[in-house]
């Protein structure tokens, strides 16, 4: 508890270019950017593969292998290869981290939709694209959102590695705190990250309420 008071109770921690608000903003900035890029890649790809059923096996296998890619290793490699100075080196490993859960869940979600439902949709004269967007996607939405949520939480928590290569974000408190053994900073940073993750979780719960049809939510 003392650590938390030290961290959150110190006025200096709240202001300036290395204050808590700035760090949170920075953290959100790369997390959001990485997450959005990943979502833009993985959701359409997952929908497409789930819909056509082609390449599904490859996707699942690759996604699992991609989970194994160590973020830290990728990060330093990318920095070595393209240098520091921009957020790009951080985005690449984070995107790599964020894609698999979204991709796999979207794919499984679409593929898992009851075959009869698909059948009924085509039988009523929906065209392929209408079937995908009007029937499959809404039905798969809970799983798609689950994938997005898992991915977002991982990104928020892992974005702290940005600090390792000298970028900002909440990881600064952790890396710097570790280096200087200021435990209050380490714990404070971790708490902030956990809170962000919690906020993400809550955000998705709300999103789920809003965008998922009660009809689909109940079925699961």
């Amino acid at each position: 508890m003392n650590w938390l008071i030290d961290f959150f109770g110190t006025a200096a921690n709240w202001s300036g270019s290395d204050g808590i608000p700035v760090r949170i903003l920075e953290h959100l900035e790369f997390s959001a950017a990485a997450f959005l890029i990943a979502a833009l890649i993985a959701v359409p790809l997952g929908l497409l593969i789930g819909h056509t059923g082609r390449g599904g096996f490859i996707v699942v296998v690759t996604a699992n292998a991609a989970r194994a890619l160590p973020t830290l290793g990728l990060l330093v490699l990318v920095v070595l290869l393209i240098g520091v100075g921009t957020v790009l080196p951080v985005l690449i490993p984070l995107v790599v981290l964020a894609v698999p859960p979204i991709l796999v869940n979207t794919y499984e979600g679409v593929r898992g939709v009851d075959a009869d439902l698909r059948d009924a949709a085509y039988g009523m004269g929906l065209r392929g694209r209408q079937v995908l967007f009007r029937v499959l996607t809404p039905s798969a939405l809970p799983l798609i959102l689950l994938g997005l949520r898992l991915s977002a939480i991982q990104v928020v928590s892992t974005a702290s590695v940005a600090a390792f290569v000298g970028l900002g974000g909440l990881g600064r408190f952790i890396i710097d705190g570790l280096a200087t053994k200021t435990y209050s900073d380490v714990i404070g940073g971790a708490v902030l990250i956990a809170l962000l993750a919690l906020a993400v979780q809550l955000g998705f719960t709300v999103l789920d309420r809003v965008v998922v049809s009660p009809g689909v939510r109940q079925v699961r």
Binding site: D119, G123, M124, P138
Partner: protein, 358 residues
């Protein structure tokens, strides 16, 4: 009218699901495809709305080859009902029903009004309209499935074992409902089932298929029962063919005798039982206006003296048919029941089942 002309379907793995099928499903009638599992019923049905394309042969919809029509367009003009209803779980009932109208670009209000109308038509309470499919029982979901297929008022309806997932009691009521609907709507319906009783109950024409997708016999139900084309059909029709085809003979033709003295009646002349030493004995009744010869026979068999009591719609005794009279009626109609012909112009009051089904 839907015409199959030498239609064959061979799946990529070599299975011949339908083999040189030629038949006609008449306009305004219910044509039932029946046969054992795997005999190609579903395949045949789905070739009509091009969910599956035939390998060779043609299917004509009122003289137009379905192959000439863009599939989604074709399908929007054909209602399609499947076993699990296939309702969209994420849409409310009313929107499920309005799916095709929305697709056709109807305005939302009109589409919903139409959906509400249909829900009523299939016998669903309008307060279910706002629910989601999971909140409905299996039977209710099936009704919604039918309503949805009817939404854009397609002339043709394809139904693939629509009632086989519900329990027998609900199933019977869904069958009644379908007959009732058809008596009002006169759609061209192709109905698939593997249950011969259902086929006979619903079909104006019944096509019996055998495994390999070949047509074994196509006839109206009464003919089918009296003159099965071969052993396969006879076997498939099962027992009681003689009794069952009595269902197609109305009981109107029976000469009724006057109510005998040993039948005890209440003040409204409703029968109470046959007098005997040991008190009243059981009796059986039939309504000559509505029932079939089968019901009359059943009534006779329930009475100790073999006499069936004829009652009116209110259950009042209006006469009796003695065993002799009945025998005579059976002899007259027994072997050659009248052919049932679909009669699209006859309007049947809703409270009254259209058929002489007992």
């Amino acid at each position: 009218m839907i015409t199959f002309e030498g239609v064959t379907k061979r799946y990529p793995d070599g299975t011949v699901a339908v083999d040189d099928l030629s038949l006609q499903a008449p306009t305004g009638a219910i044509t039932v495809f029946v046969g054992p599992s795997g005999c190609g019923k579903t395949t045949s049905l789905r070739m009509i709305n091009r969910m599956i394309d035939a390998t060779s042969g043609r299917i004509l919809l009122d003289d137009q080859d379905v192959r000439a029509i863009d599939p989604p367009t074709l399908r929007r003009g054909i209602g399609y009902v499947i076993q699990q209803a296939g309702l969209f779980p994420h849409r409310k009932i009313v929107d499920n029903v309005a799916t095709v109208p929305y697709l056709l670009g109807w305005d939302k209000k009109k589409a919903r009004a139409r959906a509400m109308e249909l829900l009523e038509l299939v016998g669903l309470d309008s307060k279910l309209a706002g629910r989601y499919p999971f909140q409905l029982s299996g039977g209710q979901q099936q009704r919604v499935g039918v309503a949805r297929a009817l939404a854009a008022d397609p002339p043709v309806l394809l139904m693939d074992e629509p009632f086989s997932a519900v329990d027998p009691i609900v199933r019977a009521s869904l069958q009644e409902e379908l007959l009732h609907l058809q008596s009002e709507l006169h759609k061209t319906i192709v109905f698939v089932t593997h249950d011969i009783d259902e086929a006979i109950k619903l079909g104006d024409a019944v096509a019996v298929l055998r495994v390999g997708g070949r047509l074994a016999q196509m006839a109206d139900p009464a003919t089918l029962l009296s003159e099965p084309a071969d052993d396969f059909v006879r076997e498939f029709l099962g027992k009681d063919r003689g009794i069952r085809r009595l269902s197609f003979v109305p009981a109107t033709g029976i000469r009724l005798g006057s109510v005998p003295a040993d039948l005890e009646l209440d003040e409204d002349t409703r029968p109470l039982g046959w007098r005997s030493d040991g008190g009243l004995l059981p009796y059986g009744t039939f309504n000559p206006e509505r029932d079939s010869l089968r019901a009359a026979l059943d009534a006779a068999l329930l009475s100790p003296n073999g006499t069936a009591i004829a009652v009116d719609g209110d259950g009042r005794a209006i006469g009796v048919a003695t065993r002799d009279v009945l025998d005579e009626a059976l002899a007259r109609h027994g072997t050659r029941p009248e052919k049932r012909v679909p009669d699209p112009d006859r309007e049947v009051p809703a409270s009254d089942p259209r058929r002489a089904e007992s």
